[in-house]
């Protein structure tokens, strides 16, 4: 089987939940006490696609301002960038735009982008309308997803009342992803890496235990959404 290596860099402001998302996705360990990233953290995970085995390398960068200038080191060789903001924080969305500008002028090769609005569980405090984010993503030709690292975590533990009915499904436009259904078939990173590896047509194998690690439960609209597959 073909082995593909893909590098993803996760960018975004301090505290938007980058590490929480990555840790959720990699599923190596669950921690409610994730502390601010220092420099950048390096994660790896293997994913088996239908026709290839993908070795995914994830650079989870620190959002703290003092590490800002280190970012080129991480995105320079990346195939894809995951741009994360916090839907309750307008400034974090603005910061994403800053990152996009920087990537457009500095990235060496073609870079697949994806926009993620995190903390969907805090919809009551939403400061970034989903439509704005979706429109911006569409203009970039990037998929936009809203998710919650926290709620996913809760659902993983098997019960979470009272956080259903989250808004922000309205991701319309070119980059729209159908919630739940699409998310299960194309968890964002898998989607990204598929594109990155030039295997855009590849279906992420959701069944048969071929996905070795829990897939990212993106945009799960209800708390009782079954947890994505795992080894």
């Amino acid at each position: 089987m073909k082995v593909i290596e893909a590098k993803i860099v996760v960018l975004g402001s301090q505290g938007v939940g980058k590490t929480s998302l990555v840790v959720r996705y990699i599923g190596k360990m669950f921690s409610r006490h994730i502390s601010p990233t220092i420099g950048a953290s390096f994660f790896t995970c293997n994913i088996n696609l239908a026709e290839a085995r993908v070795k995914l390398q994830v650079w989870d960068t620190a959002g703290q301002e003092r590490f800002r200038s280190m970012a080129p080191m991480y995105y320079r060789n990346a195939n894809a960038a995951l741009l994360v903001f916090d839907i309750t924080c307008r400034a974090s969305f603005a910061a994403v735009k800053g990152w996009v500008k920087e990537l457009q002028s500095n990235a060496a090769g073609p870079l697949v982008l994806a926009l993620v609005g995190n903390k969907a569980d805090l919809a009551a405090a939403r400061a970034v309308p989903a439509t704005d984010a979706a429109r911006y993503a569409a203009a970039l030709g990037a998929p936009y997803t809203e998710t919650s690292a926290l709620r996913s975590a809760a659902s993983r533990r098997g019960g979470c009342g009272g956080c259903g009915g989250v808004g922000g499904r309205g991701a319309r436009g070119a980059a729209r992803l159908e919630p739940a259904h699409a998310a299960r078939r194309h968890p964002a990173p898998a989607l990204l890496l598929a594109a990155a590896a030039g295997a855009a047509g590849a279906e992420v194998s959701a069944g048969g235990g071929r996905v070795e690690l829990p897939a990212w439960s993106l945009h799960t609209p209800r708390a009782d959404t079954p947890r994505p597959l795992c080894c």
Binding site: Q14, T19, V23, M29, S31, H33, I34, S35, P36, T37, I38, G39, A40, S41, F42, F43, D60, A62, Q64, E65, R66, F67, R68, S69, M70, M73, A91, A94, A95, G98
Partner: protein, 552 residues
């Protein structure tokens, strides 16, 4: 309190004063640590000549560039985290913080005077404030520095009046129960306001550490340049997230005698185990040309340090690394790659560090520090190899035994093992290697407790202490330590006995020793006990100390 103080050296000890290196427990001809005393540096720090102090800060060649040219690396933009463009852009995109300060500039005194009386601020044993030389608040140990703009203005005014008007330096202000100590360093002003029994020198040392912590995050080059470009810059933007480092450092400095003595504590390990660990690191890393230091630490203790030939680390740089690792839970989540500046090693630039814990079941953290910013992958590889070797050689078990303070180890409860009942506590520093050993090693979780205690207060309390903790003993040593390191009339030997306890402090060419005995013990008894104690340390030295200075 009945207290007698005798500074003269008792005759029975005189003959030992300049004991042979062979007899000094822990001494070895080559040291991994640079044993230069911080005390001497602090003296220059406190020198009253502004010119001289300034010169110290600016002239220094870069060790990092030196290494780079030696290994044939073009010196890239290692030194500077930020180009000036980044900086401007950064400032423009952060309206929030500057707004806050401007607001504060407007509503003068009224609110703030009240704030100074708030419970957040009053009755604290020690305050530390850091501000820019323009008077902008950067850090306050307690309370919200935003609301301290007024106070910072006053501090800045005091400092600059003395500087401009009198061509002099404001060092301290003392009141009946309180000292305020000032340190102007580069573009920053640091102030400690303390009601503790720490001396002026000890406070200056702590402020210097706080400054070095900031340098460690930004580099001196960047710090200076920022303020050259904009005198009014709000540094909190760049320090966001690093306040925790300063908070924790201040706690450690109050608790851990390593700071008081300018020494590093080693994790006691069987000699063979330490040797195996060191060899595992050397055999894995000796081909990696740009690696400067490989350091294995656990719970603020050094397990081993392997270095590039010619280069050593200063204890205070190691303390900053300890602090970084202790303060950064995120290193436990995954392998990390982070810039870190070690001010004594090279204040002008960053080293790049691969930081990771050895394994899920071992709290030892490995730092691989290089001058090469692209070296992550080879170092990551090296780490995995080292971890495998340690596992295979059963070193992990030895480390865990020491960390869990397994009952079988003589170093777990030294006093019991030594068996001299009149000794309540001791701390020993071997000067040539800058390493220390105390009777009650501070354990991991206890430091965590201190953090919680500190969060709840830092207030002055007047509770009667029933049983002294190791920290109380160390606090009691401060005064003696200060007399021993006094620049003008240093004491060599102090023996003080009263109804609470008997304290002996002794410095020779080779070591420093502080012992607390039971109350009202006879001198003759302490002599025997000290002899016995030194013999014990000598006997266990290979376990307690790192007795060689390995290189790649």
């Amino acid at each position: 309190m009945a207290s007698t103080s005798k500074d003269s050296l008792p005759s029975h000890l005189t003959h030992q004063e300049n004991i042979d290196d062979d007899l000094v427990p822990g001494a070895c001809p080559e040291s991994i640590l640079n044993p230069t005393d911080s005390f001497e540096e602090i003296e220059t720090e406190m020198s009253t000549d502004p010119e001289q102090r300034h010169a110290k800060l600016t002239t220094k060649s870069s060790t990092i560039s030196e290494i780079q040219s030696e290994i044939g690396e073009p010196s890239k933009d290692m030194k500077t985290a930020k180009s000036s463009d980044d900086l401007k852009e950064g400032m423009a995109s952060s309206p929030s913080s500057s707004n806050i300060t401007e607001q504060n500039g407007d509503d003068v005194d009224t609110d703030k005077d009240e704030y100074l009386q708030s419970p957040e601020l009053v009755n604290k044993e020690k305050h530390v404030f850091i501000l820019s030389s323009a008077g902008k608040p950067i850090y306050s140990r307690y309370g919200n520095e935003d609301k301290l703009a007024g106070l910072c203005g006053v501090i800045q005014a005091l400092v600059s009046v003395v500087e401009d008007h009198d061509q002099d330096i404001l060092r301290s202000i003392c009141t009946k129960d309180c000292k305020a100590v000032f340190l102007v360093k580069g573009p920053l002003i640091l102030v400690a306001v303390s009601k503790s029994n720490e001396s002026e020198t000890q406070l200056v040392m702590q402020l210097t550490y706080a400054f070095n912590q900031i340098v460690s995050v930004l580099t001196l080059t960047q710090l200076n340049r920022i303020f050259e470009q904009r005198r009014n810059y709000d540094l909190r933007r760049l320090l966001a997230g690093a306040e925790r480092l300063i908070d924790n450092l201040l706690i450690f400095m109050e608790k851990d005698p390593a700071f008081l003595l300018g020494a590093v504590r080693c994790l006691p390990l069987p000699e063979k185990a330490r040797e195996n660990i060191t060899n595992a690191i050397i055999s894995t890393c000796n081909k990696i040309r740009d690696l400067v230091f490989a350091i294995l630490i656990a719970g603020n203790q050094l397990i081993t340090l392997v270095r590039m030939k010619k280069y050593t680390l200063h204890p205070s740089d190691i303390h900053l690394l300890f602090n970084l690792v202790r303060s950064s839970e995120s290193f436990k989540t995954a392998e990390s790659w982070t810039p870190v500046c070690l001010p004594k090693f090279d204040a002008t630039g960053f080293l790049h560090g691969h930081v990771s814990y050895i394994s899920e079941d071992c709290q030892a953290c490995l730092l691989l520090l290089t001058v090469q910013r692209d070296a992550f992958y080879p170092l990551s590889q090296a780490k995995h190899t080292i971890a495998e070797k340690l596992e295979k050689m059963k070193c992990i078990g030895a480390i865990n035994d020491a960390l869990n303070r397994s009952k079988d180890l003589p170093t777990t409860n030294p006093l019991k093992h030594i068996g001299i009942p009149i000794i309540r506590h001791f701390m020993y520093k071997c000067k040539s290697t800058a390493q220390l050993f105390t009777s009650d090693p501070i354990s991991l979780d206890r430091l965590q407790d201190y953090r919680i205690m500190h969060k709840e207060g830092g207030d002055i309390t007047v509770k009667k202490i029933e049983k002294l903790s190791d920290i109380d003993y160390v606090k009691n040593y401060r005064k003696f330590c200060n007399q021993i390191h006094c620049a003008t009339v240093p004491a060599k030997f102090i023996f003080r006995s009263n109804c609470e306890n008997t304290i002996l402090a002794w410095i020779t060419n080779g070591f420093e020793l502080y012992v607390t005995f039971d109350a009202l013990v006879e001198k003759e008894q302490t002599k025997k006990a000290v002899d016995h104690l030194l013999q014990w340390i000598k006997r266990e030295e290979n376990r307690i100390f790192i007795m060689n200075a390995p290189t790649f």
